[in-house]
Structure formats: C-alpha cells, structure tokens
C-alpha cells in the first residue's frame, strides 16, 4: 500500500519534472541560473547591489547585476526585433550592428551639427531620438523591401548594409568625431538624482511596449503564420510580403532605440568600432532562447532571456580577466554546447536513451 503510494508520488514528481524539463524555456532559464550561480561561486559578492555615489555626488545603484542589466539593453532591444524578423522571414538581419552606426551618426550630426565639441546641444534630444529611429526604420525598410519584394534571402539582402553601414555612419557625421554635451549622457548612464541606470528603464519600457503590441495586435499571430506557411497565409487573406516588410521596419525601430542608448553612453560615436559584431550576439540570443532560426514559432521571452544570458557570459569572462582577444573563443565554445543541447538530434538521443534505460530496468510500464 505504502509502496504503491510511494510509487505514485515518484510518478507524479517524475511527471512534474518532465513537464518542467519539457518546457520550452527550461534550458535558457536553467543556463542563466547556472551562469549566475557560477558567478556567485567565483565572486561571492556578485549579487550584492549597493547604493553608491558617482563623481558628481548623485546617488547611483552599483553592482554586477546592475551592470549586466544595464549593458544588456542594446542586446535585448535588438533581440526583440530580430525575433520577429526571424519568425516571419525565416532568416536573420546581419546589418543591425552597422545600422546602429548609421543611427549613431545621424544622432551625433543632429546634436552637434558641424562642430566637434559643442558646448550645448544643437537640437532637442527628442528630435535626435526621433530622427535616429527614422534612420533605423529607413534601413529596416530597405532590407525589408529586398527581402519581401525581391525575395532575396535575408542574410544576403542585409549583407549590403552590413558592408556599407559603418561608412554611411561616418559620412552622416561629416567625417568628424564630435562629442555631445554631457546632458545627452543621461540616457546611457544616469539621470542625476535617480539611482537606477536609464538603460534599464528604457529596456523595461521597450519590453512593456512589446508585450502590449503582441497582446493588442495580431503581430504575433501574423508573423508566425507567415513564417510557418506563407502560401496558406496568403490564402487566408494575409499579405506575407507586407508582414515581412513590417517586421524589418520594427527591427529598424529597435535599432534606432539601441543606437540612441549606445551613443548616449559615451556621448560620442566611432562608427567603425561601435557595437562590434553585435549582430552575432543578437542572433545567438534568439537561438539561445529556444527559437528556431528557420522561422515560424517564436518565444519572445526566450530571446530576452537569451540576451541577458549572453551579457552575463560576456561580463563573467571579463571579470575572470580572460584576455579580451580570447573572449570570443570562450563564448563560442559555451554557445555551441548550448545550441547543441537544444538541437532535436541531442534531444532524441537523450530521450531514447532515457526510455531505454527505464525499459531495461524492468519497470517497462509506459513509454512516453
């Protein structure tokens, strides 16, 4: 009797465990937690957040976690847009880093005009933000037209801006390297008197808008439908080309916001080195979140978790004093392991071994 109930209990706990491990976000979340624990192990004070003062005496929050949350802003925002593009067009935009440079160039030109170190801003910051977003959306529209109207593969289509973008950014600034006045720096650092880094607030705002957009419009349904089966979608009255175009423009908007935050961090832009190879990190974030890079279904939360995971990994390697030149190698090794774990081949192998061992153990009651 008691043995039976014991077995029931183990069965139930097994099925709960199974439900958890089967959940699509299990591996991304588990890995993020694992990374955080690893960090705590290396540096016991890792999770501590304290209130400090910056050079001007304003209160600011200090801590590793705060740094990661703040530094991940660009990655998170771009991953949101990239998830939609991946879903609808079954491909990725590799030009996001270069278009961030364009956006940065536009913003700098708007704020500084033709001066290299103007004492005050040439235009209100909101104008710079809007024009930056507009520039990003224009780039997105360019990519979107190539993909949706001309049926060029996303990677090939975006290769154009990937190649040219950074030069365009430099041209946008008129070849100068201007530095904007300190008040522009509030958006990439702190608003004086407010202790939470502004990028974290911006991330929260973008995530909220995304949640609302996915809930209050059919963006999610249409993107997935087109990504899974565009023929059937068009027979249901959708216009697949228009939806693919839309996702590229949305990614462009994300690039605009990310570019704004990035250029505000140091109030200057070097278009040739700004956000180096961020496109790869963004695509990896999408993949780490358990999304298929082949398009179709997507989990926005997965991409966001993936972005934070990558940022945690990057800052962990930096704190471990890994040589900056060697960081990509470590990152690559860890990511390849993660992606392999999530691949169907691995899952099937693992799954069959699992049921096999159960059968041979003699219980043989049920299989899957």
């Amino acid at each position: 009797m008691s043995r039976n109930s014991n077995r029931l209990d183990t069965d139930r706990s097994k099925s709960v465990l199974k439900a958890i491990t089967r959940h699509g976000l299990f591996i991304p979340i588990a890995f993020l937690i694992f990374l955080l624990l690893l960090n705590v192990f290396i540096n016991p004070g890792f999770l501590i957040i304290s209130l400090g003062r910056d050079s001007n005496g304003n209160p600011v929050l200090v801590g590793n976690i705060i740094n990661i949350l703040s530094n991940a802003t660009e990655l998170v925002i771009l991953a949101i847009g990239m998830t939609l593009v991946t879903s609808s067009s079954r491909g990725q935009d590799i030009s996001v880093g270069a278009t961030v440079a364009i956006v940065g160039g536009v913003i700098m030109r708007v704020l500084c005009g033709n001066e290299t170190q103007p004492a005050e801003l040439h235009a209100p910051i909101i104008v710079a933000l809007l024009l930056g977003c507009l520039a990003g959306m224009a780039c997105g529209a360019f990519n979107g037209i190539l993909v949706s109207k001309f049926n060029i593969q996303p990677m090939v289509a975006t290769l154009i801006l990937f190649t040219a973008g950074r030069s365009i950014g430099s041209m946008a600034m008129g070849g100068l390297k201007p530095k904007a006045a300190a008040s522009f720096g509030y958006y990439g650092n702190f608003i004086p008197g407010f202790p939470i880094p502004t990028p974290i607030l911006i991330t929260i705002a973008v995530i909220l808008v995304t949640i609302i957009a996915l809930k209050k419009t059919n963006l999610g349904l249409y993107t997935r439908a087109v990504g899974i089966n565009d023929k059937a979608s068009s027979l249901n009255g959708l216009n697949p080309a228009r939806i693919k175009f839309l996702t590229f423009v949305i990614l462009g908007l994300c690039v605009g916001i990310a570019g704004f935050v990035q250029s505000s961090r140091v109030q200057t832009v070097n278009p040739y080195t700004i956000v180096p190879s961020i496109e790869m990190d963004v695509i990896l974030a999408v993949a780490l979140g358990g999304n298929s890079l082949g398009g179709g279904k997507f989990k926005m939360s997965g991409s966001i978790i993936g972005a934070y995971t990558i940022q945690t990994l990057t800052s962990m390697l930096t704190t471990l004093n890994v040589n900056t030149n060697a960081v990509p190698v470590f990152k690559a090794v860890i990511i390849i392991i993660l992606v392999a774990i999530q691949s169907p081949v691995f899952k099937n192998f693992f799954g069959s071994r699992f049921s096999f061992s159960r059968l041979s153990a003699g219980s043989g009651k049920e299989r899957g």
């Binding site: 209050k216 419009t217 059919n218 349904l221 997935r224 089966n229 059937a232 249901n236 009255g237 216009n239």
Partner: protein, 537 residues
C-alpha cells in the same frame, strides 16, 4: 532479349513460365523461328505502405517488362507516387517484395542512390540537374570519385551519347540555356547512361509544349527499342494512348488492374481511375439533393481567366445551390475557383457577386465580399502546421477583422469550443498544434475556419481527400445542410460519386477548358466520364 534460331521441323509452341521470366515463342512455319524473350525486368509483389493514419498502399502488385512503356495511372492520392517512392528507396516498404532482373534475391532498397546502382532511374517533373553546369558536366557529375576529370574526353563521350539519342544539345552548352524539354532529355540521358534497366518518368510532360512532347516521345520510343522498361506517370490520357503498351491503374492505394492498352478504352480507364465506391450512405438520399429553390445569383463570372492558364469561363452559382467541378487532375477545376477567390491573378473577364461588379485582386477582398475557399492541398495551402487548432480556426475571421483588433483569448476559445463540438473535431485540446491531428480532423478545422467567416459562397476544393469514409460522409451531409440554409457552395472532388450525391449541377473541365455543364438526368457517371474523356456516347 532476342534469340534467333533455325528450325526446320514441326511446329512448336512453347509457353514457358519461370519464376520471373515469361518466354513466348512465335513460330514461323517451316522457316526461321524467332523467339521473343520478353523478360520481366521488375516485379513488385504485395507492396504495403502505411503512414500514420493512412494506408497509402495495400497489397499492390506491379510488373514491368523489358522494352515496354507502362503507364501508371490514378487520381491524386491513389498511391502512384508512394509506389514510385517505395521503388526508388525514398520510402521503405512495410511489406511485400521487389525483384529486379539479374538479381536472384528480392532486393531491399534503402536509399535513392541504391536504386540507381540497381539500375532504377527516376526523372522527376522538376528538373533535378544543375542548371549552371554544362550539359556534359550534368551527364557525368557525381558518377566517379576521380578528382581529375578529362573534360575533353567527357565532352566527346557526351556528344556521342546525345547524338545517339537524338538530343539537340551541345556538350559544352550551359544547361540553363537549353529548353525545358532538352533539359528533361538530358536528365533522361544521364539516367540511361548509368546502365538503367528501369526508367521512371514522373509527369515529364506537364511543363512541355506539344512539339517538345513529340521530341520526348521519340526519345522514349528509341529507349523502348533498346529494351529499357519505362514507367510513365502522367495525367494526360491522350499521351497514354499515343505511347504506352500497358496501363496499371491504382485507386485509393489499391491495385485496380493491369491492362493492355488495346483492351481498355479511354472511358473505361476514366471509370477505373475514379472508381465506384460502394459506400453505404443511407442517410444521404440517392439523387442530387440540393435542388435550388431560388433564382438569386450569388456568383457570376463572365469570360474569367487567370494567370494559371485557365481558359475564359462562364459560371453561375445560385443561393442555396451546390455546384461541382468535374474533370481529371490538372483539368483546371481548382484554377477556376482560385480565379474567383483571387488566389490567382485575374487577367481577363468579369466577376459579379450578387449582381454587383467587383474586382477581386487578393483573397482578402474575396473574403470581405463573402467568399470562402478551402484549398485543395491541405498540407501546403491549408493548415499552418505549428500553430494551435484554435489559432488555425480563427485565422481567416481574424484577418478579416483586422490587425489591430485581435480576438481576446476568451473569444477565440469560445469559437474553438463551439466548432470543435459542432464538427466533432477530435483533438486533445484547442491548444494542440494542428499538425499532430489526423488528416480528417485537420480538414474539419480548416472547414470550421471558413464556416466561422459565414460566407455567402463557399468553395470546397477536395474537402474529402485523404480522409476516412466516416468524415467524408459527415462533410457531405454538412454541405447539404449548409446549402439548405441558403449558402451557395461549390464542391469539388475527384470522386464523382461524391459530387453526384451532393451537387445539383456539374461543370465539366477538360484541359483547362470548361467543356460542359450537366444537370438533372444528365448527371450520371456515364455522361460525366464521356464528357471528361471528350468522346460522344
């Protein structure tokens, strides 16, 4: 194989039957005797193949002799392509045996490359060569493991092959510069050159014009003369009768029979392909049920034509009426309704909905005018595989409602619950991805998707294909019920019986032309088949 010997003695008649060879001896009195030994080159026996939920092949036999062109006929879903894929190793068979000449034991083909090594070559409808390589490169690529190839030698060898088969292409010419027919023939030449005993041509003529078809046929006859056994899959009846020696007919995964071409008139072939299923359908009365009782025209086309190649057609559909489009595969049934729905770009003609001239340039416009279209190919054009049953169900209505006005979860769940119970959709829950459902249940979900939009005119293109009999009957009953409630419906099916049961008027299509309209007493199997075959009875 031909064996010749002199015989001056008495008359012999020898009919020798071995395990796999049928030997016939023709006797010429008092002189030379010619023995024709027509070996069977391929035998398939008792082939079974099932897919989850569907038994695609059941106990199918197929025999191919040397030097014959053998047509493999059947409507969509009959099992032709499954049989061919079993033969070429794309699928593995569940049961049965395949024997090929020259090998004593039954063979087990596990991959297409293996089939090729055994001398079974396939040329598909879509050219599977490399268009950016030259003709000679295409002929020889992938056949040796040598790293260094003497292209000069290859080119001259290619030239002799092409000349031998009468193909007008230069070895050094880039393949994409050749016409489709020549590309097709190069594919065949490649197959032949690899010592092929069995050549499978899967719909080779569907993208060719008449002259090109004639060229291809010359080549096929040439190959027949060389002793190659050719399996010819096509849906063009005329071509079968022009070229083939034998016909094997499949229907619903079962063998209907093997016939000499001379023994089987065209009308009978059509009958055999379509079949006369003796389903017990007591609940559905016997004669056309949806006799229209109104004169309200819902849909009217005038000389409508679309980019699909359909010839201008006139068609009218009344309120509460069920119309059907009959015709063989590729005759233009679907193309007609696709033009009405705006799925293919309309290039000519007028469309009137309830007397009002409309221009429909995209499906969404048709949907907003009250047209629904359940597409022919459920997998390709119907379901959105990874999405849930609920999302699939509300999709059309949601798109009509608009981007910024999504249904709430409660609303869409209510729709899903309503239609899941109304149509008896068997699904674990509304959140189950649709591609894990059986074909019949998937079809019910798609049907529900269109019913949810409450169309005035609903087009059902092969709604019963590949689903079990029970669901078929349910769908037919539903069609009649909807019509009695005033919906105008077009019901297209490859199974004539189904249309006879449900439709009050049949439009007959042949080779992209609308060739006839049958109503009332004229709606009989016989009449329809004669109209389809184009012969006068």
């Amino acid at each position: 194989m031909w064996i010749l010997f002199a015989d001056l003695g008495a008359a012999y008649f020898l009919h020798y039957r071995s395990d796999r060879n049928i030997v016939r001896i023709w006797y010429l009195n008092g002189g030379l005797s010619i023995i024709t030994m027509k070996d069977t080159v391929l035998t398939m026996r008792n082939i079974d193949k099932s897919f989850p939920g569907v038994r695609a092949l059941r106990n199918v036999d197929f025999t191919l002799c040397e030097g014959e062109i053998h047509a493999l006929m059947g409507e969509n879903g009959a099992g032709k392509s499954t049989l061919i894929k079993v033969l070429t190793g794309v699928y593995s068979k569940d049961a049965g045996e395949i024997c090929i000449k020259g090998i004593d034991k039954p063979i087990h083909i596990k991959a297409p490359q293996e089939a090729q090594k055994l001398g079974i070559s396939t040329v598909y409808q879509e050219i599977t060569l490399c268009p950016n390589l030259t003709v000679a490169e295409n002929l020889f690529i992938g056949r040796t493991n040598d790293i260094f190839v003497d292209w000069k030698k290859s080119n001259s060898r290619a030239e002799s092959i092409l000349k031998g088969l009468g193909i007008s292409a230069k070895p050094t010419q880039q393949l994409s510069n050749c016409s489709i027919a020549v590309q097709q023939m190069v594919a065949i030449a490649r197959a032949i050159d690899m010592e092929c005993k069995v050549l499978i041509l899967d719909e080779p003529t569907s993208s060719l014009d008449e002259q090109e078809v004639a060229k291809l046929f010359t080549l096929m006859r040439e190959l027949r003369g060389r002793g190659v056994g050719i399996i010819f899959v096509t849906h063009f009846l005329d071509q079968v009768y022009e070229l083939c020696d034998k016909i094997t007919v499949l229907r619903n995964g079962e063998l209907v029979g093997e016939y000499q071409i001379k023994e089987l008139p065209k009308v009978e072939l059509v009958a055999k392909m379509m079949g006369k299923e003796l389903e017990v359908l007591a609940e559905i009365q016997n004669k056309a049920q949806s006799i229209r009782d109104s004169k309200d025209i819902i849909i009217e086309t005038q000389e409508l034509a679309s980019v699909s190649g359909i010839k201008p057609f006139n068609f009218t559909s009344y309120k509460g009426e069920v119309t059907g489009f009959a015709g063989l595969l590729g005759s233009g049934r679907s193309e007609c309704v696709r033009a009405i729905f705006g799925a293919d770009k309309v290039i000519k003609g007028k469309l009137r909905i309830k007397g009002e001239n409309v221009s429909i340039t995209s499906p969404i416009k048709a949907m907003k005018k009250g047209i629904g279209y359940l597409s022919e190919d459920r997998k390709r054009d119907g379901i959105i595989g990874d999405l849930s049953v609920r999302e699939n169900l509300i999709l059309a209505l949601q798109v009509m409602k608009g981007f910024f006005r999504p249904f709430t979860n409660a609303q869409s769940q209510a729709f899903a619950d309503e239609y899941i119970s109304l149509l008896g959709i068997k699904t674990p829950s509304a959140d189950t991805p649709i591609n894990s459902l059986s074909g019949g249940n998937q079809q019910k979900v798609i049907l529900a998707r269109w019913l949810l939009t409450h169309p005035d005119y609903l087009i059902l293109d092969e709604p019963t294909r590949g689903i079990d009999i029970g669901t078929k009957v349910e769908i037919q009953k539903l069609v009649l019920k909807l019509a009695s409630e005033g919906m105008s419906i077009t019901f297209i099916s490859s199974e004539i019986e189904e249309m006879l049961r449900t439709c009050s008027r049949l439009i007959v299509m042949r080779d992209l032309y609308l060739v006839g309209e049958l109503t009332g007493e004229n709606m009989t199997q016989n009449k329809i088949m004669h109209t389809i075959a184009g012969s006068v009875s």
